[in-house]
């Protein structure tokens, strides 16, 4: 197989096969094996694998092992998603939240280890650098998660740092490992990955304000939105804070989702979050265009990371 002539879709099919093979070849216990395979069922788009593949291609990589590496990235990210849900005790519709949590926890650590195992099986001369990237960005994501779980954030800067670590690190891991496999290494990739992570996390945190399956509102998690409201710039902000403290589902507190949306605009929260997101996107776009790659490749990368992965225009 030659990546120059194989498109992303075909490679993603291979990635799924590698993910399944990693489980079936390494896990002997039938019950655990079937459980892990069932968790893969819902992973359809494999966005992190896409990021790894497109970075490899953008830096002129043609390594046959890109699908295996992308599978390793997705296994690792899946384990982080599971651990995040188990730690936050939310997203109760996910399959791993519907089985006993100790069993899911063990499954998550198994997937994490399988991701590491997949990287170790690479034949690439850049394997050591890739392993170092996996370790560095995994630990950074764990550090971000720790501060987030402890709810220790007090300022906007602290919140941005946690978002960078928690969300940006996994994007950096996906991007940089793909680039490293191509034999390239540009520090800009790490920097814009953090910005893309920030933009993605802002959207996800905003969406979670409306999601009764998430605990962000009831636990008064220190998100950018919460920190802005805490400044109490206006009466609407104070009213939203009261809604958070009421213990009621927020849409119910404000009678409807529409009323709550309007309240977020009146309080200035929607504008503030959109500003922070746009700043992150602008910075990422500028850095992507400075990459030492051909212009058509940087435009393709920008389109994929900023436009295609970004707004899916899903109605709330």
């Amino acid at each position: 197989m030659h990546m120059g002539v194989v498109g992303i879709e075909e490679t993603l099919t291979l990635v799924k096969q590698y993910m399944k093979h990693s489980i079936t070849s390494c896990v002997k216990n039938t019950d655990l094996k079937n459980l892990l395979l069932s968790f893969l069922e819902k992973r359809e788009e494999l966005p992190f694998a896409q990021i790894t593949i497109i970075h490899h291609q953008s830096f002129s990589g043609k390594d046959e092992e890109i699908a295996l590496l992308a599978a390793a990235v997705e296994l690792l990210v899946l384990s982080f998603d599971m651990l995040d849900d188990l730690e936050d005790l939310d997203n109760v519709d996910e399959p791993w939240m519907k089985v006993e949590h100790p069993v899911s926890l063990n499954a998550a650590t198994t997937l994490y280890t399988l991701g590491q195992q997949a990287v170790l099986s690479l034949q690439s001369p850049y394997k050591l650098q890739i392993i170092e990237a996996f370790t560095k960005f995994s630990i950074q994501a764990m550090e971000g998660q720790h501060v987030d779980l402890k709810n220790l954030i007090l300022t906007e800067d602290e919140c941005l740092e946690v978002m960078k670590n928690k969300s940006g690190s996994l994007i950096a891991l996906a991007s940089i490992s793909g680039m490293l496999l191509a034999g390239a290494n540009s520090p800009l990739v790490e920097e814009y990955s953090y910005q893309i992570g920030l933009a993605a996390q802002i959207d996800n945190d905003f969406r979670d304000l409306f999601n009764p399956l998430k605990n962000d509102v009831s636990s008064q998690k220190k998100t950018l939105a919460f920190l802005y409201l805490q400044k109490k710039y206006n009466d609407q902000a104070i009213e939203i804070l009261k809604g958070f403290q009421s213990g009621k589902p927020i849409n119910e507190y404000f009678s409807s989702s529409l009323n709550f949306k309007q309240k977020l605009i009146d309080a200035g929260v929607a504008q503030y979050l959109n500003v922070m997101k746009q700043i992150a996107i602008n910075k990422a776009t500028r850095m992507i265009r400075q990459l030492p790659i051909e212009e058509n490749q940087s435009e393709r990368l920008n389109t994929h990371l900023i436009i295609e992965l970004n707004p899916k225009n899903k109605e709330r």
Binding site: D203, Y228, I265, Y272, N274, V275, K277, I279, N282
Partner: protein, 52 residues
């Protein structure tokens, strides 16, 4: 950034002057100025998007 956004929301005429090049935000770099303008004027977009 919280205080700058709140100031511009409370003083939309200043934001318009920044948009028209009649005023500038001292100490704010270009990425941030563009983000402020687009972010405030098109905040509604946030309601219909999500990422990864």
């Amino acid at each position: 950034m919280q205080d700058i956004v709140n100031f511009l929301i409370e003083n939309p005429e200043v934001l318009e002057k920044v948009v028209n090049g009649e005023a500038s935000l001292l100490g704010v770099d270009l990425d941030d100025v563009l983000g402020l303008i687009e972010g405030i004027k098109e905040a509604g977009k946030l309601f219909s998007t999500f990422w990864l």
